[in-house]
């Protein structure tokens, strides 16, 4: 059973007081790599002790990478989930390291059976080291690998079937892939196992030179809220979270975005 979370916002050090006092914040998510279990920020301790769920969200496990997942990164995430009393932890279906280089951003995995075998193996390793359920998020990609053998929906479905992981559906990433790669986001929602849905991400972005960038630094575009509506028409998501990472707007504007999300539930 997936924990009921409600509407939340990504906790960032720059907006810690805002997050603490914003009305309508049922839960928060923290970027796992920015925190240490031994020295949690005071604001996070305040939220946790207030009973606000705090979930760690990782960006660097690289479960879609060719290397087995670094045990130290798994241990860090496990310790953090434990210190936060989190009901689950998450990362992305992506890779960030290869050939000695660090991409600095989430890169898509080739959607082949062979790559899927590796991701399944890596996810099982993470699950074995975590004391809580593990959820995986779909990413926004700017390019596609050639020779895909599976659609994104098939890849995510097989991944959840074979590992028992949960799904973190980012509707802004679905929109980005629709705009940039011509994918059909509504069809994907029809085809993924929504009963495995952990929660949903919503974020803003902007179009530049014909490319939609999922910046987390601009307002949510209406089409992303519409996709959230498509999702909530199909299932009642246990949680929805607003991600804002830069160019922080006023508290009122953030509260209005949270209210717009809540109106779709």
């Amino acid at each position: 059973m997936v924990a009921e979370l409600g509407v939340g916002i990504g906790w960032r050090a720059e907006i810690d007081l805002t997050v603490e006092r914003l009305p309508g914040v049922d839960w928060v998510e923290v970027v796992a790599e920015n925190l240490r279990a031994e020295h949690l920020p005071e604001s996070i301790v305040v939220l946790r002790d207030r009973g606000t769920p705090v979930l760690p969200h990782a960006v660097s496990l690289s479960v879609g990478g060719a290397e087995p997942v670094d045990p130290q990164r798994i241990e860090h995430l496990a310790k953090l989930a434990d210190a936060l009393d989190a009901p689950m932890a998450s990362d992305h279906v992506c890779f960030v390291r290869a050939g000695g280089l660090d991409s600095g951003h989430l890169m898509p995995v080739p959607r082949t059976r062979e790559a899927l075998d590796v991701v399944v193996d890596n996810v099982k390793t993470v699950q074995a080291g975590l004391g809580v359920p593990f959820a995986l998020e779909n990413i926004a990609a700017l390019l596609e690998w050639p020779d895909a053998e599976l659609t994104e929906a098939q890849f995510l479905t097989e991944l959840t079937d074979r590992t028992g992981c949960l799904l973190l559906v980012d509707v802004a990433n679905l929109y980005a892939n629709a705009r940039n790669l011509g994918q059909d986001p509504v069809r994907l929602l029809d085809e993924i196992p929504l009963e495995r849905l952990a929660y949903v991400h919503v974020a803003g972005g902007i179009e530049r030179d014909g490319v939609y960038h999922d910046t987390h630094a601009h307002p949510i575009v209406p089409e992303v809220l519409d996709l959230l509506g498509e999702l909530t028409a199909r299932t009642s998501p246990p949680g929805v979270l607003l991600e804002r990472d830069d160019d922080y707007p006023s508290d009122d504007e953030l509260a209005a975005e949270l209210a717009a999300i809540r109106a779709k539930l």
């Binding site: 290869a98 280089l101 600095g104 062979e114 590796v118 390019l143 020779d147």
Partner: protein, 119 residues
Amino acid sequence: MTEPQRERLAESQSRLLHALLADGPAPAGFDRDRLQVEAIALLSKRRRVVAMLQSEACGDLGDRFVPLFDAYGRAHPRRIGTRARDDAREFVEWCLAQGHLDRPRRRRWPFRRATEKRR
């Protein structure tokens, strides 16, 4: 059990990252325009992080920051194990070594020993 798969995946992922980050040859089958879009997006993200972590030095570069960083970034892709902070510092050190930035003058604080008695 997944060894042969891992080896092939490692090779294809390595080719893609070298093309995107280190001016490597375009891997077969990819759309050239898409590779270009992704390469620019990755470089821009790295540049934003460096600008944030070394705001003073990057600010001193003014209009030269973007072209200098982009030239530097392609020639010096971020290696595994390099933290964002180190990446930003290494760029500033490169600017200093190349003469794009002046070495900051050491500040002389007119300090007094904390234990010194006030008269």
